[in-house]
Symmetry: C2
Subunit: 250 residues, 2 copies
Amino acid sequence: MNKLNDDVLHISQDCGNCPIRHRAVCARCESDELEQLEEIKYYRSFEAGQTVIWSGDRMDFVGSVVSGIASLTQTMEDGRTQMVGLLLPSDFVGRPGRMAAAYDVVATTDMVMCCFRKKPFELMMEQTPHIAQRLLEMTLDELDAAREWMLVLGRKTAREKIASLLSIIARRDATLKLDGMQGPLVFDLPLTREAMADYLGLTLETVSRQMSALKRDGVIELQGKRHVTIPDFSRLLNEAGDDADGGIMA
Amino acid sequence: MNKLNDDVLHISQDCGNCPIRHRAVCARCESDELEQLEEIKYYRSFEAGQTVIWSGDRMDFVGSVVSGIASLTQTMEDGRTQMVGLLLPSDFVGRPGRMAAAYDVVATTDMVMCCFRKKPFELMMEQTPHIAQRLLEMTLDELDAAREWMLVLGRKTAREKIASLLSIIARRDATLKLDGMQGPLVFDLPLTREAMADYLGLTLETVSRQMSALKRDGVIELQGKRHVTIPDFSRLLNEAGDDADGGIMA
DNA sequence: GTTCGCGCTTGATCTGGGTCAAGGATAGCC
DNA sequence: GGCTATCCTTGACCCAGATCAAGCGCGAAC
C-alpha cells in the first residue's frame, strides 16, 4: 500500500455506482485510477430492514452509501430507541481510528454501500491530506446537522417536529433532483411512521396524528401513505418554527 | 505565512495559559516555537454571562477554551432555547471554512479563550496535515457526544436526563482531576438550573424538582445549590438509564 | 377469491412535565 | 443592619403527547 498518494482518489471516476460520494471526498480529481485501491474496496448490498452493523461490533471497514438510505440508531436496554442520523447516498459510515461501532446502522430501504477496509483506508488518510480535510468538512456538516436536530428534539412541539423532518427531506430531495425549490415539491417518504417517530422522539401514533393534521390543514398533501406533495414550502418552514432561510448558513 | 510547516504547532509548549488545548491539537510536539504564530494568536477573556459570538455573526477567528466554560445555544424566534454543546477547557470553537457562526456562544463562567485569526489558521491547516487530522478526531468526538445527547433529549425522562447530565459532568471532572472514579465524586455544578434546563430540554422548575427528588432518594447529596456529591456513581448511571460502562467505547 | 401480516389511522384515557404563582435563600451593596 | 437582585424551591393546576385499544387498507401468499 505504500505507493498510495493523492492519486488514489481518482478511483472516484470509474466507480460507476458511487460517483457522488467519491467525488465528494475529493472534488478536484478529474482523471485516472489506481489499481491498488481495488484491493481495499468492495461493495455490499443490504435489504430494507437489514442491520449493517450492531453497536459494539468490531468495525473493520469504513465506507459510504451508494444508493438507498440507512439510519444510525441508539437503543436503551428497555427498548427505547432514538435515531441519531440519517445516511443518504454519499454519506460516510464509520470512524477512522475507532475499533467498535457506536451505533446500530440499519438499512431503511434497500441499500448499497461502497466499503474500504479500515486499516488501509487509515494508511491512505495519513498519506493523502486531502482526505482528512474533506472528511473534516463532512464531519463538521454532520455535527451541525446533529446540533440542529438537538433543537428539534429538545424544544419543538410534535407538529413542529414533523414539519421539520418533512422540510429536511424535501430540501435534500429537491437538491438531489436538481430541479431546485421552485414549484410544489413532491417526494416519497423513505421512512415508516415508526422510523419517523424514532427520529423525532415521538410515538408512531403521534406522528400519524400530526401527519393527518398537517394534511387536514393543507400544509401537505398525501397520495397514499408515503407520497407527499408540499404546495408551499415556506408555509411548511413556518410550521417547523424555522426562520425563513430555514437552515444553517454557509 | 508561507514558512509555516509542522513546526508551527510547537507553539503549544509556550502558551502558558492553554497547554491542554494546543497539546491536544498536536500531542507529538515537544519543543520549540515559531514566532510567526504569535501574529495570528491572541487571547480574549469573558465574564460569566457574556456572549462571545452571536449566531449569524461574521466569524473571523477560531480558537479554543483555555479556562472556564462556554455553551453553544440555538434560539428560536419565540425565545425557546436549546443548548447544543458545552465547551470545556481544550474544546475548539469555530469552524474552518465557514463565514458565519451557526450558534450563540455564551460564557457560562468567567472564561479565557485562545484565538487564531481564521484566514491564517486555514492556511496553516492546508500546510500542516496533522492539524486537519487532529481536528477531525476532535470533531468526531463531538459528533459522538452530540448523538449521545440526542438519545437523552429524545427518549429519556426528566429524572434520567438530570442523572445523565450529572454523570457526564462528574466523569469529566474526575478525569480532569486525575483522581479517577474511585470513592465518592465531588464537584461544583458549573451551570445554573436554567442552563441545565436549556441543555436538557426541560424547564428550570422540572430541573429543580428532579434535583430535589434525586437528593431525597440519596442518589446525590447537595451542599448548597451547586456543590454535589455522588456517593455511588454506578447508582447514578443506573438512574441515567445508561448501561454499566455508561459511554461510548474507544 | 380468502387470509394473513404489516403499516397506518383513529379514539379514549392517562400522566409527565409544563405553566403559573408564591415564596425562600444567599450574596452583594449601601 | 436592611435592601435588592439573582437563583432556587415548592405547590396547584393543566395540557400535549403517551398509552392502550380497536380497526382499516393493501399487497403478498395460497
